[in-house]
């Protein structure tokens, strides 16, 4: 039997194993490097032991024997090093790093290809394993210890860093914070304007006073005032004049300051936004090679030209562009460019040209991919459309070129008669279309039969700034991306019609169903005073809906902030933003909204079940907490217990487990011993010391098989000590039942 294949180790478990292996291999790699630099070797060795140990245990569960052996051999080395019976020479560390690389490379292999890959790489694994085992045997291999030899590994890293151009790595976290602060500074600057207005008012008041004193002076000049009175009046008049002068001067200063400061904040803001930009060339590095390889495979001659390599593109857009562009290029080579002999027949040069171009045009990013191949035979396309029963012959005849070409973007539609390795499945153009839609851009196809074809992608310059319509729903403001709104109108509620209890209205040739936004989004319903309903019309490919909102507020530019990852995907919401006054606002996810509306209309939606209160555990089932730092072990134990009818929750280390037992209520805790942040023994001790938890049954499941480990566990207060070595489903379940009885509470 091949390793890792077959039903005994199902794909889900393998996937988990890969995640764990990735993390452990990374920990191992950095541990080895710090060993080499001789930093804190005792702790590091402990960490390495644990990593090797976890890999071994997890690999055993998914039946990857090769990995079990290798991890085991590595464990032997680390434990030898701890006891000083093995000298960690630079050679040995190199070898261990090589093994770590093998682990890491395994995590990059797709699951389906895993068993083949392992078979292919078997010689590598065995060689490394053999070398490591040899090293364990000749414990005395001495070649100067690990002192002061500049390691080749480290050097390579340094060289890599140097060759990385002048780009600096800045963590997204810091960049986001910087964005936030700059945004706030902009908001604060805007608040200077009202302050200035207030100052203006003060100045006008002073002017008015001055005028009044002036009038008083004129009036009183007719009367005979004594000297003292005259003097006072004169003084008041002069003071007032000075105050006005002073106010004018300071007002000027303030205005200047505001102008300067505003421009400074604006520039700062733009500069920070610019850090999100990267040159177009960065995102297309792989394409020349791809073109070369494909052309060779298809016996075609293709020249690949890129223009606008330095055009700055938002890094998010750049990432998203890669897949669609690669589809377009594949299409162009496969369907567009003819074979050299065909090209000669058509009086074209033997070599075809594919041009990729990026430029900024009037505030949008225009990306064009064109080829000088055969283009599209519109008549053939018409025929094909009729054949595939997408449209009738009559309609096909009346469609314009643009309308016909739009059909190319339909999912599953392909003009190619044969599906090749490279393209023809009719997926490609649909992917391009979806990506363009997602970022709120547009896609046009232009072609000339026999001469070539080009795809024009118009994309927003950045995803970080969004033009949006502000609406109010349930007393809360929301932003709807302008690019996703097809229309905004006020409809008189008397002109609505209803079918099957659902309101709709007639607009531009179609009936559009109406739904109250507050119901879709589960927000308060606000009674409208007016008979005019504010409606936002949104649509996707299939359907259009009118969303009734409470009020239109206005239009604005928003800097998009990602939603907190802790929230997960929030239905109907895409992102957040901060308004000019510093208050938060949520941006609607129109695609999701359309889906929600579909669901809502198709017989209402199930109200979300409140599941946040964890104390409402499933009735009548016993509750077990599994504490283990290996995700694979956790999953195995969970499945096993759940299959036998227990309710299970998990914790990833002792501290996590300690927090869990104090807030939840459990009938049993099953814990590992070796864990970071509070180990299993400490956890048992803490549980026994807590008056509320002292009677909670605890079972230890560990790889540690020695008698003294067992005794330590039991003396600390564990009710049962189970060794994973003989990990046997039946015996674990039996032990659990012995401790707490049947899964269901009688």
């Amino acid at each position: 039997m091949t390793e890792g294949s077959g039903s005994d180790a199902d794909l889900g478990m393998l996937e988990l194993f890969k995640t764990e292996l990735e993390a452990q291999a990374m920990a191992m790699g950095s541990g080895l490097l710090s060993l080499e630099r001789m930093e804190g070797s005792d702790d590091v060795l402990k960490e390495l032991m644990r990593a090797a140990h976890s890999i071994k245990g997890a690999a055993r569960i998914v039946h990857l024997e090769t990995i079990v052996h290798l991890a085991h051999a590595m464990e032997d080395i680390f434990s030898g090093a701890q006891k000083n019976t093995i000298n960690l020479t630079p050679n040995l560390i190199d070898l261990l790093l090589l093994a770590t690389d093998l682990f890491a490379s395994l995590t990059k292999v797709p699951l389906v290809a895993l068993s083949n890959w392992l078979e292919q790489k078997r010689p590598d694994w065995e060689r490394v394993l053999g070398d490591i085992q040899k090293a364990v045997e000749n414990k005395t291999e001495s070649e100067g210890s690990l002192i002061k030899r500049e390691s080749p590994e480290v050097k390579v890293h340094l060289e890599n860093v140097e060759s990385q151009n002048r780009a600096l790595r800045v963590s997204a976290y810091h960049l986001n914070r910087l964005m936030g602060l700059v945004g706030e500074s902009l908001i604060e600057t805007h608040s200077l304007e009202p302050f200035y207005q207030g100052f203006m008012r003060l100045k006008r008041m002073l002017d008015k006073n001055k005028g009044e004193i002036e009038r008083l002076r004129v009036m009183l000049s007719a009367h005979s005032l004594d000297l003292h009175e005259k003097h006072l009046l004169e003084e008041a008049y002069q003071n007032q004049g000075e105050a006005c002068q002073f106010a004018i001067k300071k007002l000027g200063d303030l205005e200047l300051y505001i102008t300067k400061h505003t421009s400074l904040s604006d520039r700062l803001y733009r500069e920070v936004l610019d850090t999100r930009m990267r040159p177009f060339a960065d995102g297309i590095e792989g394409f020349p090679r791809m073109v070369r390889d494909m052309a060779k495979e298809l016996n075609k001659k293709v020249k690949f030209v890129v223009r606008g390599k330095n055009t700055p593109v938002d890094r998010e857009i750049l990432e998203k562009l890669e897949t669609p562009l690669s589809h377009l290029i594949r299409n162009a080579i496969d369907h567009g460019i003819e074979t050299p002999s065909e090209r000669l027949q058509f009086n074209k040069s033997e070599e075809g040209t594919i041009t990729l171009e990026a430029e900024h045009r009037a505030g949008i990013l225009a990306v064009t991919l064109s080829d000088d191949g055969r283009g599209v035979d519109l008549e053939k396309l018409r025929k094909k459309l009729v054949e595939s029963r997408l449209i009738t012959e009559e309609i096909a005849g009346s469609l314009s070129e643009t309308e016909l070409l739009d059909f190319l973007m339909l999912p599953g539609f392909s003009t190619s008669t044969q599906v090749t390795e490279i393209s023809g499945r009719g997926v490609g153009l649909n992917i391009v279309q979806n990506m363009v839609n997602e970022v709120g851009g547009s896609l046009h196809i232009v072609q000339q039969f026999g001469k070539g074809m080009s795809f024009h992608l118009q994309l927003p310059l950045t995803l970080s700034v969004l033009r949006a319509l502000l609406v109010e729903i349930g007393n809360e403001p929301f932003a709807v991306p302008l690019t996703r709104i097809s229309n905004v109108i006020l409809v008189d509620s008397h002109s609505l019609q209803t079918t099957e209890g659902r309101p709709y209205f007639y607009f531009e040739g179609t009936n559009i169903g109406l739904v109250p936004a507050s119901q879709i989004m589960e927000l308060e319903e606000v009674q409208s005073q007016s008979s005019l309903l504010p409606i936002v019309i949104i649509k996707d490919r299939e359907s259009a809906y009118g969303l009734i909102v409470d009020k239109f507020v206005g239009q604005t530019d928003l800097v998009v902030h990602e939603l907190d990852p802790r929230l997960g995907k929030v239905p109907d919401i895409n992102a957040g933003a901060i308004m000019e006054d510093g208050s938060p606002i949520l941006i609607m996810d129109v695609d999701d909204l359309v889906r929600s509306i579909d669901q809502f209309l198709r017989g209402g939606r199930l109200r979300r079940l409140k599941t946040d209160d964890q104390s409402t555990k499933e009735q009548g089932k016993k509750h077990i907490l599994v504490v283990d730092d290996s995700v694979t072990v956790r999953e195995v134990e969970c499945r096993l217990l759940r299959n036998h009818g227990f309710e299970v929750e998990t914790a990833v280390n002792g501290m996590d487990g300690w927090n869990a037992v104090r807030t939840g209520s459990y009938d049993l805790v099953i814990t590992d011993v070796d864990m970071p942040r509070m180990n299993g023994i400490e956890l048992v001790r803490a549980i026994r010391a807590d008056p509320k938890l002292s009677h909670l049954p605890v079972m230890i499941v560990s790889y540690k098989e020695r008698e003294e480990d067992r005794l330590l566990g039991l003396q600390t207060g564990a009710n049962y000590y189970f060794t994973k070595g003989g990990f046997n489903d039946e015996s674990l379940i039996q032990a659990v039942i012995d401790l707490i009885g049947n899964p269901t509470v009688e």
Binding site: Y173, S185, H561, I578, D612, T663
Partner: protein, 193 residues
């Protein structure tokens, strides 16, 4: 013009004998030896009020204290514990209700006794880059308290709240519950994350 520079004068200034009083004072100080330093036992805490409950959190986890801000509901998500979204230093933050988590109820008479909305603030707590913001009804500031002042949490307090308190201590005649910050972060992460 020359700058007066008399090394001897400078040396005599720096090397002059300190006064006897000074020497005696320092000697007395050093001879006392190290006292059982109370500093090590001292913790800085921030005391605040949720309705009628007086609580505290270690100052270490307090990232910022700010005035009340707008809190926006998050559709489909806002419930008892998650209040919604607010902003702090130009970033969006999740806002939660500690009142709800600790089950601190508001009674009518309480409202009358403490009806000052102006005293309301928001506290941002942060640990390992995880941040939460919650409104409180009043803040009394940072205090240093001695671990010896701590008492066990009386068993009479309601179960849900007692779970979150690690100590109770007296301050200005009141009983203040010190919240276990680890458990607080853990629970929030589990309930919302």
């Amino acid at each position: 013009m020359s700058i007066p520079s008399d090394e001897a004068a400078a040396a005599s200034l720096f090397e002059r004998r300190p006064s006897d009083d000074y020497i005696n004072e320092r000697t007395a100080l050093f001879s006392r030896g190290k006292q059982a330093s109370s500093k090590g036992q001292e913790t800085a805490i921030v005391i605040f009020r949720l309705h009628q409950e007086w609580l505290a959190l270690p100052a270490m986890v307090i990232a910022e204290i700010i005035d009340m801000r707008v809190i926006r509901k998050i559709p489909h998500r806002t419930d008892g514990i998650l209040l919604g979204m607010t902003t702090l230093r130009g970033q969006l933050q999740l806002c939660i209700s500690l009142h709800h988590l600790l089950e601190v109820d508001e009674g009518e008479e309480i409202k009358k006794a403490y009806g000052l909305a102006a005293a309301q603030r928001m506290i941002a707590i942060e640990k390992e880059k995880i941040r939460w913001v919650f409104p409180v009804d009043e803040i009394f500031g940072v205090f240093h308290c001695n671990k010896q002042q701590f008492e066990n949490v009386p068993v009479t307090i309601s179960k849900s709240k007692a779970n979150f308190l690690k100590d109770v201590f007296k301050w200005e005649g009141r009983s203040i519950g010190l919240i276990d910050e680890n458990l607080l972060f853990y629970t929030l992460q589990r309930k919302i994350g």
